[in-house]
């Protein structure tokens, strides 16, 4: 790259006829140093993130068992099969239900908790720490604990019986009708603490004079919450929703550690389905086609997320 006279490529180094070569070498040297700084990240990223991403799309055009030397090019056949595959649509539907439950849980519980904590509360730190404790736990831990809670003789059924609600008891993880929302609730338990923190930070940045003005006008707490807090938090709420959404579409651990997609396929989601197709059925091509669908859904959600976040930063 030629260094223009008077250009300020690097801190206004002025290039003259006689000095040009020296300066250029100096500049190139600095570029090399900068590239050396980013080289490790770049290499790892290229080999273990970008290349596999491209490969996922590419493998989706093949039929391959992962072992044999020949891969059979099948064009769009995997995607055609995907569109006609009832299990795929079922898994997609389950992902949507899961997402809805987790998002609703995070939003409702998060908003209520944040609104209550935003006031002058004794022991706010204790509440915040307690709510956040599940966030740092492994999803395998969450899975184990909630398996016990939902077990036929577990905490939930015992509690229901004690309350005289024995007719509601069931084997929660064996019941088609409830297993998906039941596990999604476990996921909500594990994630809502983060939503509380994000929403609380949002609430604390609302201009307090808005509330003063509303109070002068005689508005009650509910009025103020609906007319000031919620509208002011529009961006924050969108972020919480999109975070929970992206997270929910990626879910694998909790389901794999409890039901592995069962009973039958009642909790099959995209990630468990592609795991089974890829690593248990050795259908690498078809598994990759499912992965492409998953990647596209998350890509769109993430782009939305980033756009809104950028806008919110202005």
């Amino acid at each position: 790259m030629a260094v223009q006279p008077y250009s300020r490529t690097i801190e206004g180094v002025r290039t003259t006829r006689s000095g040009r070569l020296r300066v250029r070498r100096h500049v190139v040297q600095r570029y090399v140093v900068a590239y050396l700084f980013i080289l490790p990240v770049l290499l790892l990223y290229l080999i273990f993130v970008l290349r596999p991403t491209v490969q996922t799309f590419w493998l989706a055009f093949y039929k391959w068992n992962g072992v044999s030397i020949d891969r059979e090019w099948v064009g769009l056949a995997n995607f055609q099969r995907l569109l006609g595959d009832p299990i795929f649509w079922q898994a997609l539907q389950h992902s949507l239900i899961w997402t809805a439950v987790v998002v609703a849980f995070n939003l409702v519980v998060g908003l209520i908790a944040a609104a209550l904590l935003a006031g002058s509360i004794r022991g706010r730190l204790v509440f915040q720490l307690g709510y956040f404790l599940p966030v740092v736990q492994a999803s395998v831990v969450t899975a184990m604990i909630w398996r016990w809670i939902y077990a036929p003789t577990g905490v939930l059924n015992t509690g229901l019986k004690t309350l005289g609600l024995g007719f509601l008891t069931r084997g929660w993880l064996g019941d088609f009708a409830v297993v998906l929302p039941a596990l999604a609730t476990a996921s909500g338990w594990m994630t809502f603490g983060l939503s509380v923190v994000i929403l609380l930070a949002g609430m604390q940045s609302i201009d307090p004079t808005l509330y003063d003005a509303a109070r002068v006008d005689g508005a009650g707490y509910t009025r103020m919450f609906l007319d000031i807090t919620i509208p002011s938090l529009r961006n924050t709420i969108t972020i919480v929703i999109l975070l929970a959404l992206v997270d929910a579409f990626k879910v694998f651990d909790i389901i794999w550690a409890t039901t592995q997609g069962g009973p039958i396929r009642a909790t099959e989601v995209l990630s468990t389905y592609l795991f089974k197709e890829g690593f248990q059925q050795n259908q690498y091509g078809y598994g990759s086609a499912i992965a492409v669908a998953l990647a596209l859904i998350i890509l769109v959600s993430s782009i939305l997320n980033l756009t809104i976040r950028e806008r919110g930063d202005d």
Binding site: A34, F37, V197, P208, D253
Partner: protein, 289 residues
């Protein structure tokens, strides 16, 4: 009615202005606290109960506590091996990530070079790629590198996949340091690496702390990568070991909760010690792919 609250604390839905409604605030908060913490406490307590105590006193304190479950999980249940594997992988992850993310974060924040913007946006895309979506070719890549069934496979993949978010975190930290610092060092004749190592890095310690804590948390808790890459039982990490353990000892709640305790205690302690770093870091790193 006179408002006795300053405007800074006037954002009250708390009812503190109306003392009769205090329970409207604290009851939901406490119910939620029990909902959040009780399941964990229940599992931790069960780890210290004998089979007899589990039957007679399922929800109370483990009195007197027994260490039999922990001892058995540690030895017969092989949790000592799983623990060691998790520790090796997580520590290697942390060291690797701290080094490479601070180097790259520094370059993106304070050096200028052709293609800087492009590369940064390239990394940004990495934030959106879910692991599950690339796990099949990632497995094949590890196979081609002959890394399958080694710690290396999990370490390399963990670091590569989480690198983008940590580069962004470190970049933000380095960007906030005053410009005069490196100019002064440059005048003194320091080279770029000396500036980075002796001047900038010590000032970016809070950032490094965030990177180390979050990377430890994520790699300690991760299931998918070690599940796919590690086949030998002696290489399994705690979450994977727990999963297989569950298959064998489903009925033995004492042993299972001992496993849960071993898996969750280290991160819980780290969290209680470094609460603020965790909360801030996770709130800012919530974008991770």
């Amino acid at each position: 009615m006179t408002d006795s609250f300053s405007s800074a604390t006037s954002m009250q839905f708390t009812g503190t202005r109306r003392p009769r409604a205090w329970w409207l605030v604290y009851v939901p908060l406490i119910v939620l606290l029990v909902f959040a913490v009780a399941p964990l406490l229940l599992a931790w307590f069960t780890a210290f109960k004998t089979d007899q105590q589990q039957l007679t006193n399922p929800y109370g304190l483990p009195l007197p506590p027994t260490l039999d479950n922990l001892r058995e999980a540690w030895t017969v249940g092989r949790f000592s091996i799983y623990f060691k594997n998790s520790l090796i992988i997580s520590i290697a992850d942390v060291i690797g990530m701290v080094i490479i993310s601070s180097l790259a974060g520094y370059a993106f924040a304070r050096l200028s070079f052709p293609g800087q913007k492009l590369l940064l946006y390239g990394l940004l895309i990495g934030l959106t790629i879910p692991v599950a979506a690339i796990i099949i070719p990632l497995y094949l890549t590890m196979r081609d590198f002959h890394l399958l069934d080694t710690y290396g496979s999990v370490i390399v993949a963990d670091v590569a996949l989480a690198a983008p978010i940590f580069v962004f975190i470190m970049r933000a930290f380095f960007k906030d340091l005053p410009r005069e610092l490196d100019d002064a060092a440059r005048v003194d004749g320091a080279n770029e690496f000396q500036i980075f190592w002796q001047v900038m890095l010590p000032l970016a310690k809070p950032g490094l702390m965030t990177v180390a804590l979050l990377e430890f948390l994520w790699s300690w808790n991760d299931l998918l990568l070690p599940l796919v890459f590690l086949v030998t039982n002696d290489l399994r990490t705690l979450p994977v070991g727990m999963l297989f353990f569950q298959g064998q000892f489903t009925i033995d709640y004492g042993l299972m909760s001992a496993g849960v305790l071993i898996l969750s205690l280290p991160v819980t302690i780290l969290f209680l010690v470094f609460q603020r770093d965790f909360v801030k870091g996770l709130a800012s790193g919530a974008l991770k792919g």
